[in-house]
């Protein structure tokens, strides 16, 4: 029987198609988590109210901050889960190598991040609609208050940056746990250890380095750069990992 | 047709079965013999085992090989098989029979009589 010759590129494509089906739960959970977040956004809101003898004024503001927070957390967990034994073993039930498996994981996560970012931006409209339909509010600002196209693009880019970062952190953390279970204990110590000396260290660092960056371009360079470094480290660590070992 | 529990190797059983087929003229001289794949399929065995059975017959001059076409029955195959079975199988059986008769004190005439009785019984069956 003659041997099949296959190209790495084609196999990465086949693996991604396969993963899109096999990880249907991943997509489903994104929708569920965002709907929950939208629900919270539509009821909970920041607001101020003032009144005198004649008038009472109450201003409610709604935002998709909850959607953002939920989605970041979701991609973190999902990216860690994708490195788990089950998913890796399943890849090897088809044609793959460790490299192909991980590159296709990376591309799948990238697609997921872009989709999640888009959903998050769109969630503004959904929240607006939910409030309009279900909340008892008299005066509405126009739909334009959701954001101008330029603003939405900015949100999209920022969201993508944060999600990529979260995804790479999750992925790297997942890989470490696959290498040794001890990392479940070690990683939190490494992250929160410095906090003992200086409370809120991580938060401050993250806030200063990423969130406070005024240039969108530099922000993306920082987040994507960090994500790439973490991802490449993860791939390198996993490339010698056995599958189906007893 | 094959006895899978027999201590006799499968490839020898295959060779013997094919010999019987040739003796019964199910294969005529220069007719194409089953291939190892047909035998493997028919007897549910590995084709290499079937090939070994065919090789025995080829080595004994009962089959000959035509390159790329397969195995064929030789002109003198049936005669050769008959000859060998008389000289080997039958004479071995006879020596067993004679030894057993000796063991049981059966006289020569009685033994011959027993053989004749069996022969006429079989004739009666077949007619």
């Amino acid at each position: 029987m003659s041997l099949a010759t296959v190209s790495t590129g084609n196999l990465i494509r086949q693996q991604i198609i396969y993963k899109c089906y096999a990880m249907a739960d991943l997509w489903r959970s994104l929708v569920v988590i965002q709907l929950i977040a939208i629900f919270f956004s539509a009821i909970g809101s920041g607001g101020m109210s003032t009144s005198d003898d004649m008038f009472s004024l109450s201003i409610s503001s709604f935002s998709n901050d909850a959607v953002f927070m939920f989605t970041v957390f979701w991609i973190l967990v999902s990216s860690a889960l994708i490195t788990s034994k089950g998913y890796r073993y399943e890849d090897f039930s088809y044609v793959t190598t460790r490299m192909i498996s991980q590159v296709s994981n990376g591309i799948l996560l990238l697609i997921t991040v872009l989709t999640a970012s888009l959903f998050t931006v769109m969630s503004n409209y959904v929240i607006y609609m939910a409030v309009y339909l279900f909340r008892d509010i008299e005066f509405y600002p126009g739909l334009a208050s959701v954001g101008a196209p330029g603003e939405l693009l900015l949100t999209f880019l920022a969201m993508t940056g944060y999600l990529l970062l979260a995804s790479a952190v999750g992925y790297f953390f997942g890989v470490l746990i696959q290498i040794s279970k001890y990392f479940i204990a070690i990683v939190p110590i490494m992250i929160f250890g410095p906090t003992m000396v200086r409370p809120l260290f991580i938060y401050e660092f993250g806030y200063d380095f990423y969130a406070q960056e005024p240039s969108v371009f530099l922000f993306l360079v920082k987040t994507i750069g960090t994500a790439l470094v973490l991802y490449v480290c993860g791939v390198a660590l996993m490339n010698r990992k056995e599958v189906r070992e007893i | 047709m094959l006895n899978h529990d027999s201590s006799k190797p499968i490839y020898i059983q295959i060779a013997e079965w094919l010999e019987t087929e040739i003796l019964h003229e199910r294969f005529k001289p220069h007719e194409k013999m089953f291939s190892q794949y047909q035998l493997a399929d028919q007897f549910n065995i590995n084709p290499a085992t079937a090939a070994k059975g065919l090789t025995i017959l080829a080595d004994a001059g009962i089959l000959y090989k035509k390159r790329g076409l397969g195995m064929f029955v030789t002109e003198e195959a049936a005669e050769q098989i008959r000859h060998r079975r008389i000289n080997e199988t039958l004479s071995a059986l006879i020596s067993d029979v004679v030894a057993e008769a000796e063991h049981l004190n059966v006289k020569e005439q009685d033994l011959i009589h027993m053989i004749q009785l069996e022969q006429s019984r079989r004739k009666g069956e077949s007619s």
């Binding site: 029987m1 099949a4 198609i17 998913y87 044609v95 | 549910n44 590995n46 084709p47 290499a48 085992t49």
Partner: protein, 301 residues
């Protein structure tokens, strides 16, 4: 063409065991039965060939490459055992579909017909199949993919007798039509000894025997008779095992390379062939005693 070549292959786990010294080559388009006791290293060996595991010593080459992280090996081989995993988001039907994308020789019609014949439910995930159905399904994958190297590790676990028979029959028929290299491990050599061409016996991580199966069946003879005579005669022979004495009759298993004259000198001793599966048991016995000794020792002690 050589498909698999192992020389002094070693695969140790941190817990020990695994493969210690495997030395053999497997030629193209043969069916090889891999047998050995539990924990002898069969599965480790097969997973190493499939590129799942990293070797810790010696050499292994599959299609001329180290299988670990080899795309060529992955694309041209398939390893299947009862723990093979598929996403539960996929139904058996989906899995067949995805296989058709990954394996260029995939025969979708054969897969479908076998699945129908064995009544495999097509609209459920593999977790909903019984153990026997699951292994039958994996067997179908292995046959329909027509990989140049297909490795079945205990494929008939959980199958009932008639399904086993049908599966082996299907394997033989498809092999006859599309010859390829197949490795198959089994606890029941009797079930596969007519299907396979070669036998590879493994014990304690080492390859003990690698011969054509017909050679294995003629490898040894059981010689029995009065204890003294057996002892005298077998003194000059390669003795593989001494069996438990039955009264005054003792039996030894000897290698079948004595001369006709030596056999004639044996006089009244009885010679009987040793089946392939019995030979494997004798060759891999831990000590002279058997299961009976466990009980006799416990009674005395």
């Amino acid at each position: 063409m050589t498909v698999i070549e192992c020389s002094h292959l070693e695969k140790r786990y941190s817990g020990g065991a695994g493969v210690k010294d495997a030395d053999f080559t497997i030629q193209e388009n043969t069916i090889t039965g891999i047998v050995g006791r539990n924990g002898s290293g069969k599965t480790t060996l097969m997973k190493t060939i499939a590129g799942y595991l990293k070797v810790t010593g010696g050499e292994i080459s599959v299609f001329g490459e180290n299988p670990f992280n080899s795309l060529k090996v992955s694309a041209n081989s398939m390893y299947l055992d009862e723990y093979t995993m598929f996403s539960n988001a996929l139904t058996t039907k989906d899995i067949l579909h995805h296989h058709s994308r990954f394996y260029p020789n995939w025969d979708a019609q054969l897969a479908q017909r076998l699945a129908d014949y064995f009544s495999i439910p097509m609209r459920v995930g593999t977790d909903y199949l019984s153990k026997g159905q699951k292994n039958t399904f994996y067997g179908i994958l292995g046959l329909a993919a027509r990989c140049p190297l297909t490795i079945f590790d205990e494929p008939t676990t959980g199958m009932d007798a008639s399904v086993r028979k049908d599966f082996y029959r299907a394997l033989l028929k498809d092999y006859l039509a599309h010859p390829r290299t197949i490795l198959i491990s089994s606890h029941h050599l009797d079930e596969i000894d007519e299907l396979i061409e070669d036998l590879l016996l493994i014990d304690g991580g080492r390859t003990v025997l690698h011969l054509p199966i017909e050679g294995v069946k003629e490898y040894a003879m059981a010689v029995s008779g009065p204890a003294g005579e057996v002892k005298n005669w077998s003194a000059q022979q390669d003795v593989i095992a001494h069996l438990e004495d039955q009264g005054s009759i003792s039996t030894v298993i000897v290698k079948n390379h004595f001369t006709a004259a030596e056999k004639a000198a044996a006089g009244g001793l009885r010679f009987t062939p040793v089946s392939a599966s019995d030979l494997c048991v004798y060759l891999t016995r831990r000590n002279i005693g058997g299961i009976d000794d466990v009980f006799s020792n416990s009674q005395h002690g």
